[in-house]
Amino acid sequence: MDGRHYIVCGMGFGDEGKGSVVDFLCSPGRPDPARTVIRFNGGAQAAHNVLTADGRHHTFAQFGSGSFTPGVRTHLPRFVLVDPLALAAEAGRLAAVGVPDALDRLTVDRDALLVTPYHQAANRAREAARGRDRHGSCGMGIGETARYALAWPGDAPRVADCAAPRALARSLGLLRDRLCDELGPLGGPSVDLLCDAYRAFADRVPLVDGGYLRRLLRAGPTVFEGAQGVLLDEWRGFHPYTTWSTTTFANAETLLAEAGETAVRLGVVRCYLTRHGPGPFVTEDPTLELPEPHNGTGTWQGAFRTGHPDAVALRYAAEVAGGVDGVALTHLDVAARHRLRLCRAYRTGGRTLSRIEPGPGHDLSWQERLTGTLLRARPVYEDPVGGDPAGGDPGRDWPGLFEDMLGAPVMLRSYGPTAAGKRGLQVTGRRARVAGATVAAAAASSG
């Protein structure tokens, strides 16, 4: 490859194809591929699908989506919410698809928060109590973990505690008692049993301090793998239909800055928009029947929804994410076979809206008003250009349209689920500068 670090971030509501892009960046067929995947937000609720050329499939949750490539490591820094029980289960599933050593390729920052079965039980109890007003939570305890750490920063169980049984028993006991006091009996395993499993985790997986990441970044090219999408960001998404995590490039940039490194900011988008669960989705079109092999209706998230490409929402995503250096455009094969329409503006309350104005940041009431506006908005479509409106629109220049929407060159085009279906980013011999012009030149010459 080009010796650079990449940050891979979804520009939609998740499910953009981040997993397959990360897998591609780590694939051995490329010169100088990434050796380590670094997660930087969320936790085990991530569901990044990767399909290998020989037909194996895994939905990555906590392990990096490059793990099918032998030797590719995963690091979970302090911004990740770590669920050791789910890590063990995922390692087991990976072993079944030919990756027997996932745990041996894992490092975890000692400062990361622990997601426990108590958080999960509380998460589900709250979500169930919301009834039809559910927020689309995955029920994995991510929000509950963030909430508890905000309320009790000194008591929140962290990864380092796993190696300190007495501290762990105390913090887990406090957590369980407080959640049960608030929500009633929650079940879950006993504190003793949980301590035992977490101790086994600490004995097995190297727990590292913050300085480890600097050495990792010096050692070779890496990929920062974001979870979910910018439009679900805790501060910039459409409150309350958001996630408890920063889904922009921000966390990755913080870690890179601490280590004195830089990276290419790669925004991943499908040629159309999807959303799992409730919340605003202006261009949703239930009559669009697009293939979706790995996403169904989740018990806690609700249905998988599909809609037309939305320039207004994408521009907003790029703007609040602080801009992207390059675009990875996925599902071009689907776009070529189906009639997608392009939404360039919304109609709402007699007005036409072509831009969503970002709020001042950290202002949830602003975001909530935005949600209200979007829930009432109707899409204004530009008629499809050329092609057969009943069949597909193979002639349409989707890469050009998305470059325009996101203000950056399309560096990677994906025509299929495996690494073999990816085109672009093949340039070698380029220097590690990240300036937009350099990237644009690289992309242009990659053809």
């Binding site: 669920d83 050791p84 029980l85 789910a86 890590l87 063990a88 289960a89 390692a91 087991g92 745990l103 041996d104 079965p117 999960q120 039980a121 589900r124 109890a125 169930a128 009633g184 009996p185 929650l186 079940g187 879950g188 395993p189 006993s190 049993l193 949980l194 035992d196 499993a197 086994a200 985790f201 004995d203 097995r204 997986v205 018990t299």
Partner: protein
């Protein structure tokens, strides 16, 4: 949904993390414990209760008791690791709305430290806690006989289950072992282990009659135990339980076998649909379960649909293709079990 359910098992996780370091997941046994964990001690227990609740309004009591004596070799350890999946399996497939599961263990009344260990009925993974507390014995042996009658006595006289009391639905009792019961329950053992004073001995056949009034009772003889396929042991239990004697050729399929048996009893499925379900959840246990349940499932099917020799043909075909035919008894085919 809700409080009682979980997606990731704490035992599986600990076992997997320890897989490389060689430590055992069964800390209570391996930690040098020498007696029954207080939570599992049947002495002085009035009743173990399976009750309906607001969250679980249609409870179904399911009890799984397994032999932990030496003749079972590594089987109890495998069961301790596998059984936590049972609840999830029952719920995922919708075989039972509100299962309440109790785990327990049967040791040796004469020389073991824990002749009977009995957990609580639970609707969530607190039942795993009980499973982890089970002391693995390793004693006994030589007689091809263990005190299963003590366990049957406890189930008959010391359980209270809403599924039966409120809805007339019998609970499901699974005894996993490889030996026979003693022919008669001994009052001294009942006094020592459970604390009841009995006037005289009780024949095991009367205990079975008492238990089966409220519990659909199954005996599972698993591969890997000393007396797998033993005609005397199988004959003993078939005399008592008829077709409800299951030979299990692959221990990995124990949860699937129990779940499907429960599902068949609930009329939630027939055997073919259940086997399709197994495929759907990605379980490779289909052939083993199919063979194990051929008698029960096809017995049902025979009653409903097919000519009487169908069961034998099906079972024979499966046996011929199965890679791991368990023992000489299999040559007869489970057709011999069908009670018609």
């Amino acid at each position: 949904m809700g409080s009682g359910r979980w997606s990731t098992n704490v035992y599986d996780a600990a076992a997997r993390f320890r897989a490389a370091t060689g430590a055992s997941a069964f800390a209570y046994s391996d930690g040098g414990a020498t007696g029954v964990h207080p939570a599992l001690d049947p002495f002085g227990v009035t009743v173990r209760e399976s009750r309906d609740s607001a969250e679980h309004p249609r409870s179904l009591a399911i009890a799984v008791l397994f032999d932990v004596t030496g003749s079972m070799r590594d089987v109890p350890r495998v069961l301790q690791a596998k059984l936590p999946q049972l609840l999830g399996l029952l719920l995922r497939k919708g075989y039972v709305a509100d299962p309440q599961i109790m785990f327990g263990a049967i040791g040796d009344a004469t020389c073991d430290r824990a002749p009977l260990q009995i957990g609580q009925f639970e609707s969530d993974n607190r039942m795993d806690d009980d499973l982890g507390r089970i002391l693995l014995e390793g004693g006994g042996g030589g007689q091809k006989t263990e005190p299963y009658e003590l366990a049957l006595y406890f189930m008959a006289r010391h359980t209270a289950i809403d599924c039966y009391e409120k809805r007339g639905r019998r609970g499901c009792l699974f005894v996993i072992g490889d030996e026979m019961a003693y022919p008669q329950l001994k009052p001294a053992e009942v006094r020592d282990v459970i604390g009841d004073g009995l006037q005289g001995g009780v024949p095991v056949a009367s205990l079975v009659a008492e238990v089966t009034a409220r519990w659909d009772t199954y005996y599972i003889l698993p591969a890997g135990a000393s007396y797998v396929g033993d005609r005397q042991v199988l004959g003993f239990w078939r005399d008592l339980l008829g077709q409800n004697v299951i030979q299990l050729a692959d221990l990995d399929a124990v949860c699937e076998t129990i779940a499907l048996t429960v599902g068949l009893g609930e009329d939630a499925i027939n055997l073919d649909a259940g086997l399709t379900d197994l495929d759907d959840v990605g379980s490779a246990a289909g052939p083993t379960v199919s063979r194990a349940l051929a008698a029960i499932g096809s017995g049902r099917r025979v009653l409903e649909l097919a000519p009487p020799d169908m069961a034998v043909l099906d079972a024979a075909g499966l046996d011929a293709t199965g890679p791991d035919a368990a023992g000489p008894e299999d040559l007869d085919g489970p057709g011999g079990n069908v009670r018609l």
